[in-house]
Symmetry: C2
């Protein structure tokens, strides 16, 4: 008998931001597996179901339990907040499947249900900080060597990406965010906007709008996502906004600026023969 | 009379991935404004509503129409696919609001409804490529100078981020993706997995799993999202997977490897005195 393993992202946790596909997966499951906090967010959907909830750092046990029960014929939903594919359980599921020698066509059938990750839900609580290129970096060095993380912060800062920091700090892990600030200061103006968004769309939601020089003065924990602006990010009426670049080519009445053309590469002084533009015209 | 401006992301476009919050915003709106293709995706929700749909490159007109009608008292939903805050209309809305001298408390009231962006929906169709740090880069140089884009691709490639490329090519714009491949090859093995996901969860969905050396051999257009793996990304049973790093510290039975401790910084040879670890222990 073939089982089904749903790997489900429920979004930030408020019912109005969980997709119908995620709800349908949980409704169909006989067994729901998840980290204690996430199980709490979907408690109202679990009547009559078997539930396996475990603590942080027990991810391998959860993934293995979900995979093995589904392999043996059960319909199982492995639940993450946000998107299960972003620092979530989806990767570990594949590592366990590989470990047990699973192949496509065997039990369990795999169904990946995407969700809205914290970057998107948190951004919507402060304005529009992610409208241009961005990086997502986890500051947790429990599984990733710190030098790798440090290199990524440096690269993202130097190339003017908007930066979202996941897992910025915990009770024990407090130095990483200070190091991140130090690196950011080397590459960006200290007045660059920074937002701290805690528990977006949940009961204890808290939003702080600050800047690179000051963001470490505020409480930052495991439930905080840190959003760091790029060099064009501005604050307007308490919102954090990264422009897409329309002002490079148009007035806000829609008129085209001198020297520019709609649907053509942006013309930049001193870069008239860059290869992509040649190809584009 | 105060209007409401909803800025709404509907996710990939399939009904089962649009959130209840997005549906409620559209249901409440008297006027729905959007790019023609996106309006088509929510056509079944628009009975009895006024609809303004315009073409690509008419974003400024759309944003201005939505803001002005809402300012004058209407309930307006400005609709994007994916997340309106990721290369979407949310940024432009704030630029227009600033241009007309809007302040908080004035009409319109602003309600930002987040959605699932293409990175997440596309990733779920190929496996779990985004489980570790990633960058999102738009290859469109219509509003961003190409040298800025080139610098970001280089930084992301060198720092071993998973990379999602939005707007990789269009009928006219075909050189950027070739340039991106050239840069990627300088920093990563040519066999690194690459996924091309077109129209995820829509009727003409198409998924190609290939690698850095070969991805430009396939059709890539405006509806394609390109996902480039990092140095640890692997292919397993036709899925693309980036591991989170559990194998650095644990066996897949959950046993801790020699020299490591759960809930402590990962120990790395030759990096015993990195500052974050000192703080963490």
């Amino acid at each position: 008998m073939s089982g089904i393993l749903y790997v489900v992202g429920i979004g930030p946790g408020a019912a109005e931001h969980t997709t119908p596909a995620a709800l349908a997966a949980i409704a169909d499951a006989q067994l729901v597996v998840g980290y204690r906090t996430y199980i709490g967010l979907v408690q109202h959907l679990l009547a009559g179901k078997e539930v396996v909830q475990t603590g942080m750092t027990e991810e391998i046990g959860r993934a293995r339990a979900a995979v093995e029960r589904a392999r043996d014929g059960a319909r199982v939903a492995l639940v993450s907040s946000g998107d299960a594919g972003v620092y979530g359980m989806a990767g570990l599921v594949f590592e366990v499947l590989r470990d047990i020698g699973w192949t496509r066509g065997q039990s369990p059938e795999l169904r990946l249900i995407p969700g809205m990750t914290a970057l998107n839900s948190c951004a919507s609580r402060v304005g529009a900080p992610l409208v241009h290129d961005f990086c997502s970096i986890s500051l947790s060095d429990l599984l990733t060597p710190w030098p790798v993380i440090e290199k990524r912060i440096t690269a993202a800062a130097a190339a003017d990406f908007v930066i979202g920091l996941y897992n910025p700090a915990s009770g024990r892990r407090t130095r990483q965010i200070v190091e991140a600030q130090r690196i950011l200061k080397q590459h960006r103006d200290g007045a660059t906007p920074v937002a701290l968004v805690k528990s977006a769309y949940r009961e204890l939601e808290n939003v702080v709008l600050t800047d690179i020089d000051h963001f470490t003065d505020y409480e930052i924990g495991m439930l905080t996502t840190v959003l760091v602006g790029n060099s064009n990010t501005f604050v307007f009426e308490g919102y954090m906004v990264t422009p897409r670049g329309y002002h490079n080519k148009y007035t806000l009445d829609g008129d085209v600026l001198p020297g520019q053309k709609p649907a053509r590469s942006l013309r930049v002084e001193g870069a008239l023969d860059s290869r992509p533009r040649e190809g584009a015209e």
